[in-house]
């Protein structure tokens, strides 16, 4: 739930001074253009456009039901909007499909955990590399040389992610048995495993305590800094948003009502009204 963001002192949850190694923010990598999405009579998104630049951390904020999750679902092709296009790098798509988005390097996590419950942590994260695995069905059936080597190579990549997310002790645990905070990490790990260029995070810190939030912030920023991964994240905790994002897009009732640096957005009249009007 959104607190009253405009009055909250930006509290430093994470030390975040752009280190020298940080990738410079580049040209537009992803653009949402005039997107409208309806569910029957419900207008979830109305004519929203915004741009995401390479290597930046962009936050999408807005009250409950503003259309934030729907926006991510449009970007990676889970929902097909009635109007509008998605531009990724130099290509414009009227119709995005999840598979196309994934193979172009767009990964995401989910607001309500969507892990593969019956599988272990390792296997969940390994699915993030399925697109890169090429062994044919016969090679897998017999697990002859190349198929096994491929498995091992990808397992190594997954182990690096497991180390990075500090979940070594749980690698063989079925994900359903992990506590919520760790499941959120596995969700992130699965997305990272595909080595995405753009990472869409739907409330990665929701329902966490302060410490877990700090860990998650650190992971997100590390990914952004080390690999230059562009990040689009939905978050309700304004201190986090103000802290880690380069730019903020504000949605309200499916419309875009603000777009700018955290500072600009915080002082924007429309944004203040929207938040004060809807928060309790």
């Amino acid at each position: 739930m959104a607190s009253i963001p405009v009055q909250a002192e930006p509290r430093a949850t994470v030390e975040h001074e752009a280190p020298a190694s940080r990738h410079r923010i580049g040209p537009v990598i992803l653009a949402v253009e005039h997107v409208s999405l309806r569910f029957g009579g419900v207008k979830a998104i109305s004519d929203v456009s915004f741009e995401v630049r390479e290597h930046e951390v962009l936050a999408i904020i807005g009250p409950n039901g503003a259309g934030k999750s729907s926006m991510l679902n449009v970007i990676n092709g889970v929902y097909q909007p009635q109007q509008g296009t998605i531009r990724f790098r130099d290509r414009t798509f009227d119709l995005m499909t999840p598979h196309r988005a994934a193979s172009m390097g767009i990964a995401r996590t989910f607001q309500n955990l969507a892990l593969f419950k019956g599988m272990t942590v390792v296997d969940n994260i390994l699915t993030g590399r399925n697109l890169r695995m090429k062994a044919g069905i016969l090679a897998q059936a017999l697990r002859i040389g190349p198929a096994e080597r491929e498995e091992i190579r990808h397992r190594e990549a997954v182990e690096r992610i497991i180390d990075f997310l500090e979940i070594q002790a749980h690698r063989k645990t079925p994900v359903g048995r992990l506590p919520y905070g760790l499941q959120k990490r596995v969700d992130l790990g699965r997305a990272l495993a595909s080595e995405p260029d753009v990472l869409l995070l739907d409330e990665p810190m929701a329902g966490m305590n302060v410490e877990e939030k700090q860990d998650m912030c650190r992971f997100v920023l590390d990914v952004n800094e080390q690999y230059g991964t562009t990040i689009v994240l939905i978050e309700h905790d304004m201190s986090v948003v103000m802290d880690i994002s380069d730019r903020v897009v504000v949605l309200d009732y499916g419309r875009k009502i603000g777009d700018g640096t955290p500072d600009e957005v915080r002082h924007d009249k429309a944004v203040i009204d929207a938040y004060l009007g809807t928060t309790h």
Binding site: S103, F116, G118, R129, N130, I137, A141, R143, S194
Partner: protein
């Protein structure tokens, strides 16, 4: 299999990703296989082979096939005996029409034909789920029953509609005794078990399980539902096709379309429900249970002096199946295999509670 794996640390991913990472498990497995090949053939009687062991081996193969689809990929099918029928009739026609083919080649081709038919009937799974899909697979059953009863070409214009086969010869080995059949079936089952294990721990298996557990997330991570579901239908029907051919040639010898009717489909489903969804071991346990129960119900009461009439035994059988299935579905959807795993886990830690 009751031991602790203390001190067995894996230093390579290859070692960690082995089929049976724990040394004792490997020895146990080798022991079982050695017993099956070296001891069972000399101990078991023909009656035991014919009425229990051979049917168990063939039905296990079919149950593994169905489990790959239902337990691993999460797609329901209540008409899987149809694909056994396709395998059996494909093999029959291949043997009749192309007599020089080696029986192993016949088996593979029969499996492939069943796989094609299975993928065709799997197409509805791309649009529908659950109950609707179940009904669509029922159509496969009825269509298959109909085609083999009505289209005479498939039965080579046999008068009664029932087809019969000569004993199978492999190279110079004629499989005419129950023991020969057993040895051949055992070999086939071991190979197919290994293949199923390999597939389920490779990326195809992960695609299946991901589709089963959370289809939207699977799609978003780049797994094509079309690919996952149709390969599951294909591989599953391949297994059932091979099992069907074996059932026809090595168990029945001669059969009519009724041999692969809805009852058999349901039996296969019961096997994986009782044995354990999403478990290869469960397919074995379930098949064993379903094969042994009717015979046990026939024999045990007689041994203890209260013989059941055939009708009564059949009724008791239905009651036991019915209640077990409800029980497992409600209490332990992962079946006997899960109970086995829990027992093993408990013993592994015993006598220490933690």
């Amino acid at each position: 299999m009751f031991f602790r794996e203390n001190g067995q640390f894996k230093s390579t991913y290859r070692a960690d990703m082995q089929l049976l990472p724990i040394v004792q498990d490997r020895w146990f497995m080798l022991g079982v296989i050695a017993l099956a090949f070296l001891a069972v053939p000399f101990v078991a009687t023909d009656y035991l082979f014919l009425s229990i062991i051979n049917p168990f081996l063939i039905l296990t193969l079919a149950a593994i096939g169905l489990n790959l689809l239902v337990g691993y990929c999460g797609q329901i099918s209540i008409g899987h005996a149809a694909f056994m029928a396709w395998g059996a009739y494909a093999a029959y026609n291949l043997v009749q029409r192309v007599p020089m083919l080696n029986f192993l080649v016949v088996l593979v081709l029969a499996g492939l034909i069943a796989a094609l038919v299975g993928m065709f009937f799997g197409i509805p799974s791309l649009r529908i789920k659950g109950l609707y899909l179940a009904v669509a697979t029922l159509a496969a059953q009825f269509f298959t029953d109909w085609i083999f009863a009505r289209v005479k070409w498939f039965t080579n214009y046999a008068h009664s509609g029932s087809v019969s086969t000569a004993p199978v010869t492999l190279f110079d080995w004629t499989l005419d005794t129950p023991r020969d059949k057993y040895l051949f079936l055992l070999g086939v089952l071991i190979v197919f078990t290994l293949i199923a294990k390999n597939l389920t721990r490779g990326h195809l298996g992960r695609a299946w399980m991901a589709t089963r557990d959370m289809d939207v997330a699977a799609e978003v991570i780049g797994i094509r539902p079309v690919y996952a579901k149709l390969t599951a239908f294909g591989v599953s029907s391949f297994y059932c096709g091979v099992a069907g051919a074996l059932w026809g040639f090595l168990q029945l010898g001669s059969w009519e379309p009724l041999a692969f009717d809805l009852n058999l489909s349901f039996s296969l489903l019961f096997m994986i429900i009782i044995g354990g969804m999403g478990s290869i071991l469960g397919s074995y346990l379930g098949a064993a249970f379903i094969v042994v129960l009717p015979i046990a119900l026939n024999q045990i009461p007689r041994k203890i002096g209260v013989p059941l009439s055939t009708a009564m035994a059949a009724n008791v059988e239905f009651m036991i199946f019915g209640s077990l299935i409800v029980l497992f579905l409600v209490l332990e959807p992962h079946g006997l295999a899960r109970l086995w795993a829990i027992g093993k886990e408990k013993l592994r830690l015993w006598p220490f509670p933690h």
